[in-house]
């Protein structure tokens, strides 16, 4: 089943086409990689899907529903979640306080229940806390639970951001350059982690990445972009062999 379908998407910035007539789909349960040189429009594409930008043209469907003009805060409620290239954590909030709100957006208690501290309110709070703890434990941050996000190491911050994105219980997660600034060993661990979360949370993943060994390793299919356009889409094997991709991006044939 196609979980996400993008049709003829277009976005201009001051006359420059950042995303130019892009169409693709993502199958449920697959890992969909997006590669391309800087400025190719990959992050813009994510911003369009996650509603931060509105496209000039084109349509986006999620599970058959048109989500093109949905305000960005609604997307996690549909089941789409994302991370950011330059990590946007709530720096002076604790690790726990970074995760909790992402769980609590789906709570249903209202302000009066909160003020009068009704039983159902306290149950919901407790439930959210337990779920946050589970997630934090899965990502190995339990000991840092009460530390502010900004005091974590780079790798921990990356994990926390991923944990926060998962806390909204997405079915589709958009991951923007998780391997930036990581060494080959860390990249390897990251690949394992992405595979693990995919299984555990039964996710569909769209991922932007520059690290060839990471993206080739984990992706089921890869879309190559350049100058806002799609060059080709195919399995890692097909991409590695494709003439246009080699010319525009890889520069040389990979193994």
């Amino acid at each position: 089943m196609k979980i996400l379908e993008v049709m003829e998407l277009e976005k201009n910035f001051g006359g420059i086409k950042a995303v130019d007539n892009i169409s693709f789909f993502i199958e449920e349960g697959e890992v969909f990689g997006i590669i391309g040189p800087n400025g190719a429009g990959k992050t813009t594409l994510f911003n369009l899907i996650s509603g931060i930008y509105t496209p000039d043209k084109g349509k986006i469907f999620f599970k058959g529903k048109d989500i093109t003009d949905i305000p960005p805060y609604m997307l996690p409620h549909f089941g789409i979640s994302r991370t950011f290239q330059n990590m946007r954590l709530f720096g002076s909030l604790t690790v726990l306080e970074n995760i909790l709100p992402a769980i609590m957006v789906k709570n249903s208690y209202n302000i009066f229940q909160a003020i009068f501290r009704t039983g159902s309110y306290l149950d919901m709070e407790k439930d959210a806390y337990n779920r946050a703890c589970e997630l934090i434990e899965f990502f190995g941050l339990t000991e840092k639970m009460e530390y502010s996000a900004s005091s974590l190491s780079y790798g921990e911050q990356r994990r926390l951001e991923l944990a926060r994105a998962l806390a909204t219980e997405p079915t589709l997660i958009l991951i923007d350059e998780p391997g930036a600034g990581m060494n080959p060993k860390e990249i390897w661990d990251l690949a394992l982690m992405i595979k693990a979360i995919k299984e555990k949370f039964s996710l569909t993943i769209a991922i932007i990445e520059h690290q060839m060994n990471l993206i080739m390793n984990i992706s089921d299919r890869i879309m190559v972009m350049d100058f806002g356009e799609e060059i080709m889409t195919g399995t890692p094997q097909e991409v590695k062999k494709d003439k246009r991709v080699i010319e525009a991006y890889l520069g040389e044939e990979l193994d």
Partner: protein, 244 residues
């Protein structure tokens, strides 16, 4: 300080550590460059390449180590002072001023040059090196194509009459054809003006092809260095960066 052949180093980076907040971006990095030499620094995204150039050009201050340019310690100079000493950087992503005309962009490059005749000579030189810019002097910088912007960025840097040019990912976002053209222009500049060049690249092929020596940066540390012609055949480099 002398190198093996007994010449003076043009620039010597010695045991430099740079941190963003608490996170180290460079850890005890050392390198040198001779007069007229072109060296390259390659490494993955986030390895610290841009940080290295920003530190040399004064945008970032090291918490440890020093940088000598000729006989001068420059690690604590402001970026504009570093430019005055003769080190000019072409930043990643070119950073053309889109609202200034091409001519104004070039004039800005010569901001530190007081002498009008020198300025004029430099202007002529840049236009003869990059004839494409000549046709576009009155256009706004923002209207140029990516390749033209890279030329303008390099032309703008040359207007500062540098002794040492720092190029941050000149091939970024360019098509292979333009990448080749830019690299041959870089060669031309180095030979004709005898300018030393440090080039930082993700495109390891081009960098190794065109530089004499190469440093490999990983996770903020230099893990390997040597003549580019040797490194090209090094098994580890091939696996990690050339991917053949």
């Amino acid at each position: 300080m002398n190198n093996i052949e007994g010449n003076d180093f043009l620039l010597r980076v010695d045991n430099v550590t740079v941190k963003y907040g608490n996170i180290p971006a460079l850890r005890g990095v050392s390198l040198y460059i001779d007069r007229g030499e072109m060296i390259s620094v390659i490494g993955a995204n986030g390895a610290g390449k841009t940080t290295l150039l920003k530190t040399i050009s004064g945008l970032l201050k090291p918490v440890q180590g020093n940088i000598r340019f000729g006989s001068l310690n420059i690690e604590n100079l402001r970026p504009d002072r570093v430019v005055k000493k003769g080190i000019v950087m072409v930043p990643e992503g070119r950073k053309i001023f889109p609202d200034l005309t091409v001519k104004e962009n070039l004039e800005l490059g010569a901001y530190t040059i007081k002498d009008r005749t020198i300025k004029k000579e430099l202007f002529e030189l840049v236009l003869s090196t990059f004839p494409r810019l000549k046709e576009r002097l009155k256009q706004h910088g923002g209207t140029l194509s990516g390749g033209e912007q890279q030329m303008l960025a390099m032309g703008r840097a040359l207007m500062g009459n540098p002794k040492l040019l720092l190029l941050d990912e000149p091939s970024m976002g360019l098509s292979p054809i333009f990448t080749r053209e830019i690299f041959s222009l870089i060669e031309l500049v180095r030979k004709e003006k005898n300018i030393s060049i440090i080039i930082v690249e993700q495109n390891a092929h081009m960098a190794l092809e065109h530089s004499q020596r190469t440093y490999i940066l990983e996770n903020g540390e230099i893990i390997m260095e040597g003549f580019s012609s040797d490194l090209k055949h090094n098994q580890r480099v091939i696996e990690a960066y050339l991917g053949v």
